[in-house]
Symmetry: C2
Subunit: 432 residues, 2 copies
């Protein structure tokens, strides 16, 4: 038996309890191509969710690069190999000065784990500030940056949290730069609090597009006051680009470039090699030297020739197919269609996003902005039943999360919004 | 320019300082096949060192599995997929009861990072004991298990060390079971010390073949007194099988089976998928439940269909080619040849190992056992110049580390030992 219920039973037995799945009826996916997925019954789904297969499921260029290099050589960085050098040269070429050096890891979690040690190497201190509704990864250390996680081995009193920005419900009721200054003040307060501990203040880590927090609409320069405070206090700014990076936001290659900020350290993950396990940390030569002189670090699989070939194929595909421009064009088209839906349905309280990360916030009442949590969940599950893969996120889990592979076109957006319109029209706002 | 000096310059510029390479003259490897490697000048090397390409460099079955699955589907475990279930079922089938569940990660470091949280979930305590000459990985937490590492973010006072066993220079001067009881006493002392701290005692983590420590020759049952102490004190035993596992030691599939011990948690890495980034944690349903109920854990790339296909191909290849038996037979042959060399050369103070992990300890004087550190280094570098890839390890870095891919045959052992004999005969013991 290979039906979903048999698979769920085997999962529980072999993988243990609480291994999360998506949807009330989990999907049994067996095949992918471009923006499409197929389940075991041959049913086709439009993938409007997965960011890991960045240049499309089973992208032929990436598959070919992996297959060719796996058949030629796969080894580690204690031997010399051009693959890692050519990749890091091309990757760092997409960043602003002085971000010109990199460490390659296998996951974004490992990348953030290294970034925290870079902050310590540079500042001699350990206190880190993060947003109160974020996720930066799964190592014992990095998982403590998520307020929703139970602290593990080692204490977590070196982490302090600031309220994540929310453009729909701004801090203090004010949007725009007043909101930005309030955020900077909150960062400053936590710096003061850390300075009173043995840890001191080492740095601030943020997703520069606040994707997990619900990708609030923030004007360019919004982050600058907070980063100014961080630097004035001798800390570093770590930009976690695992979600907004590699051109997803359409307007720029990296989320921090949209904010006209040059971070001290940038961390990379998920989309980097289209699903092949690759992560990375990009920084300046000075910070890299400080880290390399303070900590011993070797990653057996990190930067191996196959991983570098896969990651290089992603950069080549992004450039050859002009996928960042595609993300901008299709994203603009999608946002216009989202706004049309918002005109039609009162329960769409807000629409926002950039490029191929966009969504709508569902509310029970536009005046009170009360989140339509259960409704959003039912919409997501009904979309899955109709063959559209998407999800929800944000503090109230009432924001549709639409984040398709980068080759997503307007014809795919049309299918998505026609189905969504239909589902929104037929799903009762209040559960019967 | 692509010569070694140009590559070293580019490495320093792009990857930063202190990125380690092997050998005085680093090797620029471009191609691999089975137990062979080729450099950029077309020179062929016999690989007597690399354990990551476990079933041979570019093993066709593994390459085919990766290529096929990468072209079909690569996604994450929040959808249902048979790949991870079939793999975990087959993998756990090689372990003793009750080790029947697994978490798949991308690296051995991530696996050990999870294992420490399992110890905490089960015991409610955090204090860990490790050997004083080991390495368990590179996350900020796990790197603190190596005494040679600088502690990073978070304090490391939850780690205590016990002297690693040394069969050539046994603790208290006694080999065998007296040595085992002395080791157990040392573990007991550190448990008492941890119990006096806020951390308490959670567990002991060891490589059951003590590979980094120089793979001492220990009789079956040697570890039992120490594990008995651990369990009596309510702690768990974590066996790090990253190096001895997957049949390398020839006598058993897993290092702990040679010690007739069933660990509470087993961690896996390097050889698991022949270089594709895969690691894992195998444990009992009870410990898995405790972990899954205490900590949130999701690993984006962990257990993806391509990783599982690669890992499954390794298990299939091990079985189809009977590579564990090969490791035993070739290992026995190699040890006999090593003993012949020890008869011939006084400076070989000890020979030891099991299966395809073996080596010889070099001393300046067999009576005093003074380590021949510089000599060993010169031998390793001269072997590289003669086309044989091997290394050195142990507390004094005076033990040859010979750990070839599993398809290593007696004909390869012949070439290794003929060359080694020649190099030992022509390398002066004291540097001119």
């Amino acid at each position: 038996m290979t039906g979903p219920s048999s698979l769920l039973e085997r999962r529980a037995r072999l993988l243990g309890p609480n291994v999360s799945t998506f949807y009330d009826e989990p999907v049994h996916i067996v095949k992918g191509e471009g923006v499409w997925l197929w389940d075991a019954d041959g049913r086709k789904y439009l993938d409007c969710y997965n960011n890991v297969p960045h240049v499309g499921h089973c992208n032929p260029r990436v598959v070919e690069a992996i297959s060719r290099q796996a058949a030629t050589l796969n080894t580690h960085t204690r031997y010399l190999h051009e693959g890692i050098l050519e990749y890091v040269e091309r990757l760092t070429g997409t960043f602003d000065d002085p971000l010109s050096t990199a460490i390659l890891t296998c996951t974004g979690s490992e990348a953030n784990d290294v970034a925290l040690r870079m902050a310590e190497a540079v500042t001699g201190r350990r206190g880190i500030i993060a947003s109160d509704f974020t996720y930066h990864g799964n190592t014992s250390l990095v998982s403590q940056l998520s307020r929703s996680n139970v602290p593990g081995v080692g204490n977590s009193d070196w982490v302090r949290f600031v309220p994540a920005p929310d453009s729909y419900r701004p801090l203090g009721g004010e949007a725009g730069m007043a909101h930005a200054r309030a955020f900077a003040d909150a960062v400053g307060e936590q710096i003061e609090a850390l300075k009173k501990t043995e840890h001191g203040f080492a740095g601030l880590i943020l997703c520069p597009f606040f994707v997990n927090e619900g990708f609030p609409a923030l004007p360019e320069g919004w982050l600058k006051p907070a980063i100014d405070v961080v630097r004035r206090e001798g800390g570093i700014f770590i930009a976690d680009e695992v979600q907004p990076g590699f051109g997803r936001i359409g307007s720029h290659m990296w989320g921090h470039q949209r904010q006209a900020i040059v971070p001290d350290v940038v961390t990379l993950g998920k989309p980097m090699a289209n699903g092949h396990p690759v992560g990375g940390v990009v920084t300046s030569p000075d910070i890299m030297s400080a880290f390399r002189n303070s900590f011993r670090y070797f990653n057996t699989f990190g930067g191996n020739p196959v991983s570098c070939a896969a990651a290089m194929a992603v950069l080549e595909e992004l450039e050859d197919k002009d996928l960042v421009s595609n993300a901008r064009a299709v994203g603009d088209y999608a946002q216009a269609r989202l706004r049309d839906l918002a005109q039609k349905y009162d329960f769409i309280g807000d629409t926002r996003g950039s490029g191929l990360i966009f969504g709508a916030e569902m509310v029970l009442n536009p005046a009170t902005k009360e989140p339509a949590i259960d409704f959003t969940d039912r919409v997501v599950n009904e979309m899955r039943r109709r063959g559209i893969i998407l999800s929800k996120l944000g503090r109230h889990k009432n924001t549709l999360k639409i984040r398709p592979p980068m080759p997503f076109g307007t014809e795919h957006a049309d299918l998505l919004f026609e189905t969504l319109d239909d589902v929104l029209a037929s799903t009762p706002l209040h559960h019967g």
